[in-house]
């Protein structure tokens, strides 16, 4: 039997026996380190995600405007976002570090890259699937091209766009845990530390569980947003 000679935990204070023995889940550790470890990591994780998805959304939208308006440009843009998506995240971090250093920028560039594919594809699909006769009626009723886009095409593409946003958000929350390989930020950071400290179970479960919970909550909020923004969509699906 191996007996620990000292506290094996990373963020130890006066370790309880559960902590010292690396028990499955030590509630006292969680309450002691909520404020100095878990809560900051959660907030950083939310920041990383919001910035990545926000920038990704704006970029993908700009690209979708181009790809929708000029059909010829859609395949190359789609292929480019496909390509970015296929690069393993750890490899992408390594590629970026010489350029942008060990920084939040490096992490965000990688995270944004991964959002583009699903956001762009869903935006384009949503816009393309707007029934031709609705565009015909809009044009025939005297909508300008911009009005047709803003009042007909974009609102009708919204369900698909929001579906893309949900997937992008949830996957970014997941991928952002890997950011701790570059910087000590986000929920990946306590997991990373716990792995280095003889696999401290409580911290891994807690930080990992929080990442899962965050993803579920974010997804739930986006579903609510979807219902508020597109109250008609469920009716259409029902018919």
């Amino acid at each position: 039997m191996i007996v620990a000679t000292g506290p094996v935990i990373p963020n130890f204070g006066q370790g309880s026996s559960c902590e010292v023995n690396n028990g499955w889940f030590c509630t006292d550790w969680v309450s002691q380190h909520w404020h100095d470890t878990l809560q900051p990591a959660l907030i950083q994780h939310i920041e990383l995600t919001v910035i990545a998805v926000g920038i990704g959304f704006v970029l993908a939208f700009a690209l979708a405007l181009v790809g929708f308006r000029y059909r010829l440009l859609d395949p190359p843009i789609g292929l480019f976002s496909d390509f970015l998506y296929t690069i393993p995240s750890l490899a992408l971090f390594q590629l970026l570090i010489p350029i942008t250093g060990i920084s939040v920028t490096t992490v965000e560039i990688a995270l944004v890259s991964y959002t583009l594919l699903v956001l762009y594809r869903n935006m384009i699909e949503g816009l393309r699937n707007v029934p031709a006769e609705l565009v015909d009626v809009a044009r025939g009723s005297g909508f300008t091209r911009a009005q047709t886009f803003m009042r007909v095409e974009l609102p009708l593409a919204l369900p698909a766009i929001l579906a893309g946003l949900r997937i992008a958000t949830v996957s970014t929350i997941s991928i952002a845990t890997v950011a701790s390989f570059v910087i000590a930020k986000g929920l990946g950071s306590p997991i990373f530390v716990a792995l280095e400290q003889d696999v401290f179970k409580t911290e891994i479960f807690m930080a990992g569980g929080m990442a899962v919970a965050l993803a579920l909550v974010a997804d739930g909020l986006l579903v609510l947003l979807q219902r508020v923004l597109t109250p008609w969509a469920r009716l259409v699906r029902a018919t």
Partner: protein
């Protein structure tokens, strides 16, 4: 915003597509007087829909001209032109993300009308097309096919356009509802008196709704442009005669009510209201195996008679 009805003139209007032999619409010339319904009818490939879409420039003319109240469509701002023309299509094309009220308010909103104005207008129009005011807040997905078509009509009328284009508006609706919608459309037209160009492939619909019928043959050539009666009684050629059908004599009977005919003195016999058509009266004679019917007025009082010789000389 526009108002009243406008005269519509096709002047040698032609549409050819590059790389395709023959024209889609070939030197089409006809005048639709203000406030009349002109039905474009013909087999597929006759260029009916193309001719219609030339008017609001969803398709551009190759040559010739189209004038609305004397002004060429080519001289008008594209967006202004279209806002002044009501447009109804077969699939209705209601915007699924907008309520009925927002759909009806589509064009008024383009003119910068306020929300209260649009609300009042949509209430008026819902009443006009025979829908309850509670429909305003519904979404198109909550309506039946017939209801959607009514809302489509209300939307096209919202900005009080002098001209309406209707592209097979009732084609996708079951026959019973279609007949009712046709009746209501004609009642509505009595009130609003728009100039209407109405496309259909159904000659019976054309006869029923048209003040005048333009028969187009494949290649976009106008064969005959006349009142329904003239077309039924004097088809210009075999193509028209065949298109209107071997039962054109019966169809012609359906265009007259008994009130329009000269009645004989009151008699006994099976009764028929004078609002019935000559065709209905003939059908009743055949069914009852009689040669004369007693014609009644609105109160059911016998006011005259009609004989088989009068109907079928």
């Amino acid at each position: 915003m526009p108002g009243q009805a406008a005269e519509l003139v096709f002047d040698e209007a032609t549409k050819e597509y590059a790389g395709r032999a023959g024209a889609a619409v070939d030197h089409l010339s006809l005048t639709v007087p203000a406030g009349e319904i002109c039905v474009l009818v013909g087999p597929s490939g006759g260029g009916k829909t193309t001719a219609l879409r030339l008017v609001n420039r969803l398709i551009s003319l190759t040559s010739g001209d189209i004038r609305i109240d004397g002004t060429s469509i080519l001289e008008q701002d594209l967006v202004e032109l279209r806002r002044g023309i009501g447009y109804v299509i077969q699939q209705v094309g209601l915007f699924p993300h907008m309520t009925v009220e927002a759909n009806i308010g589509t064009v008024p909103r383009l003119y910068g009308r306020s929300k209260p104005w649009i609300h009042t207008r949509s209430q008026e129009l819902l009443e006009l097309v025979g829908l309850d005011s509670s429909y305003a807040a519904r979404y198109p997905a909550q309506l039946s096919g017939g209801e959607r078509q009514r809302v489509g009509l209300a939307r096209a009328l919202a900005a009080d356009p002098p001209l309406m284009l209707m592209d097979e508006p009732f084609a996708a609706i079951d026959p019973i509802v279609r007949a009712r919608l046709q009746d209501e459309f004609l009642r509505l037209q009595q009130e609003v008196r728009k100039t209407v160009v109405f496309v259909t492939h159904d000659i019976d619909e054309a006869i029923k709704v048209g003040d005048r019928i333009a028969i187009l043959r494949p290649g976009g050539r106008l064969v005959q442009y006349d009142t329904p009666m003239t077309i039924l009684e004097h088809p210009k050629d075999d193509f028209v005669a065949e298109f209107v059908g071997v039962d054109r004599a019966l169809k012609a009977l359906a265009l007259h009510t008994l009130a329009e005919l000269e009645l004989g003195p009151p008699t006994d016999g099976p009764r028929v209201p004078r609002t019935a058509t000559a065709r209905d009266a003939l059908a009743l004679m055949i069914e009852k195996r009689v040669d004369a019917l007693a014609v009644t007025d609105d109160e059911g009082k016998v006011v005259g008679s009609i004989t088989r010789e009068v109907l079928v000389p």
